[in-house]
């Protein structure tokens, strides 16, 4: 069952893998933005997570340690952003850009001498006979554990934001920091923790790129995935399950264009490789315009710093 040299089952199975990094990063950024902070440094945190995870995994031989180190790397870098925006109240847009530029430089500095090394393999979850079911088997039961973990994380974030006290506090801080402050919540401290969570998620996503998706270390290997993750948050209109849909959509496009390139399609390679970015723009336009404006759902205090006068 092939269409133009592309097997739809393999396509769906591989888009689930391709979607993991952007899904994780977008989910983290969603929580950050829900708390009213716009962190444009996702790309930088992702790439630092990618190299920290790669170094740790190569050094210890364990992909689990690699993923933990990736998350730690992203979180540490995000604390720089948190300090600058929450403690000394710097402009969030500019600081986020600085974080991305700094992260790209730092990662390539850390990655010196790691080119061309294979990381330890992240194993598939053994589902036994389930993996042999035609069509459903390769799509649902033939992935590594991070694929399932990322979906579980979507569910977890959705539940926390919707149904727990913690979620209510985060949303209150993001919608009206003055009201949250008046209720006695430490606005900047809560935001700081959300930023660290977002950094850890971006780092985890980055580690997935270098440990599973590619898997090796190349300078600047995230290639805009962090920016696409930011766009997905807008696409998802700040709802966790829509992040999953958005990530699968973009995962699908990047897998499709890669297999079209490999299948020797009539469309030139250059146009195929620019397609994920063009689709992002089109999606942003659709989501931002008209009456169903995504921005209506944006957290009210997004991007505004909070300084308690008293």
């Amino acid at each position: 069952m092939d269409f133009g040299g592309i097997n739809p089952v393999i396509l769906v199975a591989s888009l689930m893998v391709a979607a993991v990094p952007i899904m994780l990063a977008a989910l983290g950024e969603l929580v950050v933005e829900k708390a009213g902070v716009l962190n444009l440094g996702v790309e930088g945190m992702m790439i630092v997570g990618a190299i920290s995870g790669f170094i740790a995994a190569v050094a210890t031989g364990s992909p689990v340690v690699g993923f933990l180190a990736g998350a730690a790397g992203g979180a540490v870098l995000s604390l720089v952003f948190a300090f600058l925006t929450q403690v000394v109240l710097a402009n969030q847009v500019a600081t986020g850009l600085a974080l991305t530029m700094f992260g790209l430089g730092l990662s390539s500095l850390m990655g010196q001498g790691y080119n061309g090394i294979k990381p330890p393999l992240t194993g598939k979850v053994p589902f036994g006979p389930l993996a042999d079911i035609p069509v459903l088997g390769p799509i649902l039961f033939a992935h590594d554990w991070m694929v399932y973990a990322s979906i579980a994380l979507v569910a977890g974030v959705w539940w926390v934001l919707r149904a727990t006290r913690l979620g209510l506090i985060i949303r209150a801080v993001g919608e009206s920091h003055d009201a949250a402050h008046a209720l006695g919540y430490k606005v900047n401290r809560i935001r700081l923790m959300c930023i660290a969570f977002g950094g850890a998620m971006a780092g985890l996503g980055g580690a997935y790129v270098s440990l599973v998706r590619v898997p090796q270390w190349v300078d600047g290997m995230t290639a805009g995935a962090g920016w696409i993750a930011l766009a997905i948050v807008v696409f998802a209109s700040w709802r966790p399950w829509r992040v999953l849909i958005g990530a699968y959509l973009f995962g699908g496009i990047s897998v499709l264009q890669l297999s079209l390139q490999a299948g020797g399609s009539a469309i030139p390679v250059e146009y195929l490789s620019m397609s994920p970015y063009l689709v992002t723009i089109v999606v942003l336009v659709i989501m931002s315009s008209g009456r169903g404006r995504a921005s209506l759902n944006a957290p009210a205090a997004l991007g505004q710093n909070f300084h308690a006068a008293r």
């Binding site: 000394v88 700094f102 500095l109 805009g224 030139p268 620019m274 931002s288 008293r310």
Partner: protein, 360 residues
């Protein structure tokens, strides 16, 4: 405990003081970083900041300084207008590439004709190319309320693939023995942008950068447009009551920054770079963001900031060849500079007070 207290007015002293403090802090922390990498920090800092101006090879490197500062200043001045108004064009790198491609295409189309009109036509085409590329996020923002940050950034990646296509496809040198890259402009005098005064590094792009700095300063401090830009950034509501049309301002600021980035790209590709190649762009569009902030979004400040940032490029290359410092270390250094700048800026708007426990 330390406590921040908002100043009624930004401190004049710190407005000019923060860049200096930030540079000093970056040198100190950067030095520590270099020390960790096993280099002698004093030697590295001296190689980057001292040698290009006063060292042994300064006669050559001083020229390189202006070569690198020219595009940075051109782009940063354009960006600063938008940044002041709260319009974030961060895709200058893409506009730079598109300007270079459009301008070069005009020149290469008439190769090998010799006419005085070719270079001016290329300059116009370059500016238009950058302008058109910046118009995409601008129109999408004004029409569909799309976030200009994300769109302009996505277009950088698109521009890079177009550049790859240009250098291996439609602008490839037909006599290039199959190597990627266009014809070299140094062998096409009518379209070249040579060094005008030998040894200084001054080419048309550097002259344009200084002219634009002066014009930018006049517009910002004397013209109604400059007033509207500043007003929109500081008090958007007041700007609307004043009659500022936000859409017009977005189109204007994005257009100017795109056009200037395109110009910078054209001057680079016809001069120092020499030809369209896959990697002729070296990230000036992104570094210019740092330059704009380091210059406090002020055209005159940006000129100094651009020269300082050029110093880190030139000195960084020196440190790479002489001391084996990786190129990425300079990128980290530049990123760190922006961090410190944004961090130290707290002193401009806030007073730091020590509060005794229990007393407010």
């Amino acid at each position: 405990m330390l406590r921040l207290e908002k100043r009624p007015n930004p401190s004049k002293f710190w407005q000019y003081g923060t860049p200096v403090v930030a540079v000093a802090l970056t040198m100190i922390v950067g030095g520590i970083l270099f020390a960790f990498m096993g280099k002698n920090p004093v030697e590295v800092i001296r190689t980057i900041f001292w040698d290009p101006i006063f060292g042994e090879f300064a006669f050559y490197l001083r020229g390189q300084l202006l070569v690198k500062a020219g595009p940075l200043i051109l782009i940063a001045i354009g960006l600063s207008l938008g940044f002041r108004a709260g319009i974030w064009n961060i895709g200058a790198e893409g506009q730079y590439i598109m300007g270079a491609i459009c301008g070069a295409a005009v020149g290469l189309a008439v190769y090998p004709t010799e006419s005085r009109l070719i270079f001016p036509a290329m300059v116009i085409a370059g500016a238009l190319g950058g302008w058109a590329w910046a118009m995409i996020p601008a129109i999408l923002k004004t029409r569909f309320n799309t976030n200009e940050i994300l769109v302009s950034l996505m277009l950088v990646y698109v521009a890079q693939t177009i550049l790859a296509k240009a250098s291996t496809g439609f602008l490839k040198n037909p006599e290039g023995m199959g190597f990627p890259g266009s014809r070299n402009f140094s062998s096409f005098p009518a379209a070249a942008n040579p060094e005008l005064i030998a040894g200084t590094g001054i080419h048309w792009g550097v002259i344009a950068a200084f002219l634009v700095a002066i014009v930018g300063w006049v517009i910002l401090s004397r013209h109604i447009i400059g007033f509207q830009i500043k007003l929109s950034g500081q008090a958007p509501r007041a700007a609307r009551f004043h009659g500022v049309n936000p859409s017009r301002l977005v189109v204007l600021c994005m257009g100017v920054s795109g056009g200037l980035a395109g110009l910078a790209g054209l001057f680079e590709v016809t001069g120092p770079a020499g030809q369209i190649s896959i990697d002729f762009n070296v990230g000036y569009g992104f570094t210019a963001i740092i330059v704009a902030f380091l210059g406090r979004l002020n055209p005159i400040g940006i000129v100094f900031a651009g020269i300082l940032m050029a110093l880190t490029y030139v000195g960084g290359e020196m440190a790479a060849t002489n001391l084996g410092l990786p190129a990425a270390a300079i990128q980290v250094f530049q990123g760190m500079l922006l961090f410190f700048l944004l961090g130290v800026d707290v002193l401009t708007n806030f007073r730091i007070r020590t509060a005794i426990l229990g007393v407010k």
